[in-house]
Symmetry: C2
Subunit: 657 residues, 2 copies
């Protein structure tokens, strides 16, 4: 019933195909003045029509002299020369420099006939009364002269066809007297975004919808790469609508890009339409992410169908579309991909397919460190934090930590003063905001949960991790888990206490007061996943409840409607309640505030910070901890947010792992 | 009489000053839609207002099931489930998945209540008749589900103030539903170009004038770096004109850049005007090139005065203006400088000042090789071929060849298929043009003379060198010099013969027929520099003439008017004649054609190619030599250009060094 990719091609085959399809695009040649030529591609060889420099010129301020007159000159035996005038840049000499004379000369001024050497002013004394200059050093003949045509000569190739014009090239063209250049017009690339679930940003999301990010990522990438994007619209997975839009696109653009609508799912429409209207060359590339990519041709125009997942879409944009645009534009030697060598922060397990793993870069001990981000292509946050990706060849199932890898950059490389990874928290956000605004530090904060924070700090990929990990055996926070996992060289810095409790709808319509109400039968509960600290806390309360009621834990659990319905985040608990799919669930207090829910406090949890022992003195880490300890800061936080408590030992090292 | 720089400051002091001056610029905050936000700087923290994803969603096409129903499933014991419908992306589930049932689900579709796992379609068989699906594998609970808020949660910081918005950031903003962002408007940077000798490109050069390249280099760099250039004009070294223009510039722009007018020469005007109208903070920076740079302030607006030499101007643009623009724009973590590690191709002698040496990059044995270009700041061609520069600390007087150096890029890195360095020649240009157009190779050709070519090939910085070096002892070309200099691992490939002779004005008004006419007394000669092959050839003829006439060589030379007037290039000879400053000089035939002069043949010279032994099989080198040997090509050249002869051994190895 559904098409499963059966014939995947290798990435190189796809690139070869695109290289040949690029020849079908013929871009007009237009003439533009230099000031409009930035990032355009030269459409003709430009030959130098003048000599550079056009005359012999002085390269220093000083005196134009005859070499024979200064031979043997020194401080002790200076050579006097009669000053016969002066020449400035832009003037033309009207006198000759004869034996025994010198002409004052400015940098850039033409050398007068007869002179063959320029003596810088620093190597002379002047006697104004006698109108003499004393030369105090013998230079070589020809010193401080730039000879006409020595730099570039008339008839030399200045720039070849196919060069991308940057500031360096534009300045060179101007120096050679070129005012207008013939360049190729930018290729027009139509962009069609497909997905029934997609909504334009800024509009209200209906249930089941998500925002469209690809259109904006594609359009801005195309602009950066010198193409002219033509956005055709955001359409549902509908073959007829797509067919109409594709027909229009091929009539208006040189190339068509689509995103979405390319998976083998029920909603896969692009390949059927391309097959019907033209030729489908490639449907599926043997890479991860990016497998559901298609390449076809309609009416002589190339169609590239990009995957719908944002990270997959971005990777394929870089792997396929970027070189394709260069080929179309006729760029003869496109700028090399920018990549950096980095140490892999953590081992990578792979499924043997050629893979592009998004990584975040930081600096550790003077080397770049590449920390792999979640590889599920559906994840948005890896898009936000990925600095580049590692190309892992097919057949690889393991890359060891510490391996040197090449990271292809997808954004300009930035080195941050402080990298925070850990559990989402409002106090952290308040600290980092102050570090940015007051201490003018650049801070990267990634909220991916306590376990990711612990993992990142143990492989040195962040400076500070924020964690609240409850050990279900001891019912203690943070330190026991570090001990159990045998983490080394990490300090636990005491953070603060956050309240945990039951979220309920505003006004608490079901009258819930505690965990005992979960057994009532009319309360729909939504649970957190096993392994989360919140789940451990709930089970601890249910155990105590079971004891009190004289029931087994299993019996208690069986009575709770929705105990088996697990979600992964505090926010998901809140959303289930807002949408009326559950009545209550366990979460932290600030979530109640953010989502406008009521809160029934049950317990307190300890949110601590982990810092690498050898980075405790890093200025940005010190600034972070200083702010955490600052009493003024603490007072402000307490007055602003409910459910947060600082402790006397907040900011102090409470454990050394 | 002239100001000599007495108090030079270090580069770091200049940067510190600019950092503090940057705070004086206050840029308005404007709101723009995402599609206009590329390369703008965010003026506020953007906090995520939705959860990403906003609901639990399937990440594969397949079936939404309850985990308990598929526990233990395998190919041998598949679990049948009743299909209760299907859900596509963009829809919202209207039914629950109850025990024993499954709902068909598309990638991106919301998970129906009751289901806790998604089984990909590949792990199922379907029985349409019975409306059953058989699940053939037990996955983990929660497989192929992306939980709501698991990626980014409401209230999390999406992007901090001060971030530069690239495609990655713009896509992320869109995904989070953001349609408009507050950004800083671009800073307006006034550009004033000073120099009495400067002419706008495209206009006719008068004697003593050169074209203005800086304006175009500065304006396009500013655009690339996110500023809005405002060109105020090209003016002579005139204090009153500059004063007027500066007053206007500070009223219209946030910052003012000047170029030229900053040296300590007679024409130095900028510092005096800045001192008069405002404050002159820095006049002279202790770096090379770039010393004559000034920093001042007029009416609260920062003025940066850049040097007039194009290479100096470009280096200071990168060192000072680029970070300054980032600071003004409020970029919190500016992209790191892009630099590459490279092996220095040849030793560098320095004068102990902090220096920035422009280099050309190529690849040798898998490493980048940095070849220093002429360091005179007046050279234009180093601007054209410089890929970046090396920062040499003060106090260094020698950097050994083979040292690893860090090259800061000033243009996107390009790797060329073929690098040619050597003497300017029309046959070379015809070959490289064909390699570009027909073989689609990227070729870099640098005409800097035979000796530079020989030097470059001996330090492996080019693939092919083109040389015509006459040995005055043997009167033989090329091979003797290689032997004498003990060059190793280089092959001499026979090239072709070019005619040498006397250039004279069209129609030969002085009736010159040979070297003997140089003794006539009414002929003004212009000579080439000692050490050039052409000079050696002339002296050879004059020796023979002296013999014939029974004179000493000195006697002959004394009789030639202008024998002591030396220029460095073939072109300079032609220009002296065109401008009426000389009647004749020795040069190659094609120069006569290019400048429209008449030509009196005297001798033939051998133009050969040098190739590294281990690169003879490099495809681009082979293509070059194949073209040289091609008979069709040779016929075309001979019919098109006069004074060129190919030989039977053209393209063959004639010597191995």
């Amino acid at each position: 019933m559904r098409k499963i990719f059966r014939k995947l091609v290798e990435l190189e085959e796809a690139l070869d195909l695109l290289k040949s399809l690029a020849h079908h695009v013929k871009l007009d040649v237009i003439e533009v003045p230099l000031e409009q030529a930035l990032n355009m591609v030269l459409a003709e060889d430009v030959v130098c029509m003048v000599d550079l420099p056009p005359f012999d010129r002085a390269t220093m301020d000083g005196y134009a002299v005859r070499y024979e007159d200064i031979e043997g000159a020194s401080e002790e035996s200076p050579r006097p020369l009669k000053i016969i005038g002066s020449i400035e840049a832009g003037e033309w000499p009207r006198r000759e420099v004869e034996k025994g004379t010198a002409m004052e000369i400015s940098t850039g001024a033409p050398l007068p006939y007869g002179a063959d050497t320029v003596v810088p002013v620093e190597l002379s004394h002047r006697d104004e009364a006698k109108n003499l200059v004393y030369i105090t050093k013998a230079l070589r003949r020809g010193a401080y002269i730039q000879y006409s045509g020595s730099d570039l000569a008339r008839g030399e190739l200045l720039l070849p066809k196919g060069i991308l014009l940057g500031p360096r090239e534009i300045a060179s063209l101007a120096l050679a007297g070129v005012r207008k250049v013939k360049v190729y017009r930018r290729p027009v690339v139509a962009v069609i975004t497909i997905g029934s679930e997609l909504k334009e940003p800024g509009e209200r999301l209906e249930l089941g919808q998500i925002y469209d990010g690809n259109t904006y990522g594609i359009i801005s990438s195309l602009k950066e790469w010198g193409a002219e994007p033509l956005f055709m619209g955001l359409i549902p997975d509908d073959e007829l609508i797509l067919e109409d839009l594709l027909r229009e696109a091929i009539s208006r653009a040189d190339v068509v890009l689509t995103s979405g609508g390319t998976s083998a799912g029920a909603g896969d429409v692009t390949y059927r339409v391309v097959e019907r209207l033209g030729k489908l060359y490639i449907h599926g590339i043997n890479v991860k992410p990016g497998k559901p990519t298609l390449i076809g041709e309609i009416g002589g125009k190339t169609i590239i169908g990009l995957p719908g997942y944002p990270m997959s879409c971005l990777v394929m944009l870089h792997l396929l579309v970027r070189p394709f645009i260069d080929w179309i534009r006729g760029v003869k030697s496109p700028p090399s991909e920018v990549s950096v060598e980095a140490k892999l922060a953590t081992r990578l397990h792979l499924d043997g397919r050629r893979s592009f793993i998004p990584v975040m870069l930081s600096i550790d001990k003077g080397l770049y460190l590449a920390y792999p981000l979640r590889t599920e292509s559906a994840a948005f946050s890896s898009l936000l934090h990925a600095d580049g990706f590692i190309d892992i060849p097919a057949g690889t199932i393991l890359v060891k930590e510490g391996s040197m890898v090449k990271v292809k950059l997808i954004a300009p490389l930035r080195v941050h003063d402080l990298v925070f990874i850990g559990s989402h928290d409002i106090v952290v956000m308040e600290i980092t905001r102050r570090l940015r605004d007051l201490a003018v530090l650049s801070v990267r904060e990634i909220f991916m949960g306590s376990m990711t924070g612990l993992h990142a700090i143990s492989c040195r990929a962040c400076d500070v991790a924020g964690v609240h990990m409850l050990d279900p055996n001891t019912m203690e926070y943070n330190t026991p888990i570090l001990k159990r996992l045998k983490v080394k060289n990490v300090l636990v810095i005491r953070g603060f206490i956050r309240e945990q409790g039951l979220l309920v709808r505003k006004g608490n319509p079901k009258g819930i007061r505690g965990v005992e109400d979960l057994l009532r039968g009319d309360v729909r509960f939504v649970n957190r996943n096993k392994g989360s600290g919140t789940r451990a806390l709930l089970d601890y309360f249910l155990n105590k409840l079971a004891e009190r009621e004289g029931l087994s834990f299993q019996e208690v659990v069986r009575r709770i409607r929705g105990y088996e319905h697990e979600v992964r985040t505090h926010s998901a608990i809140a959303l289930m309640i807002i949408r009326g799919m559950a009545d209550t669930g366990l979460a932290i207090k600030p979530i109640a505030d953010i989502y406008g829910l009521d809160f029934i406090p049950l317990a307190e949890e300890m949110y601590d910070f982990l810092v690498l022992k050898d980075r405790l003195d890093k200025p940005s880490v010190r600034a972070f901890l200083d702010m955490l300890r600052d009493k003024e800061f603490q007072r402000e936080i307490i007055s602003r947010y409910r459910g947060i408590k600082f402790l006397p030992e907040t900011g102090e090292v409470v454990y050394e792992a």
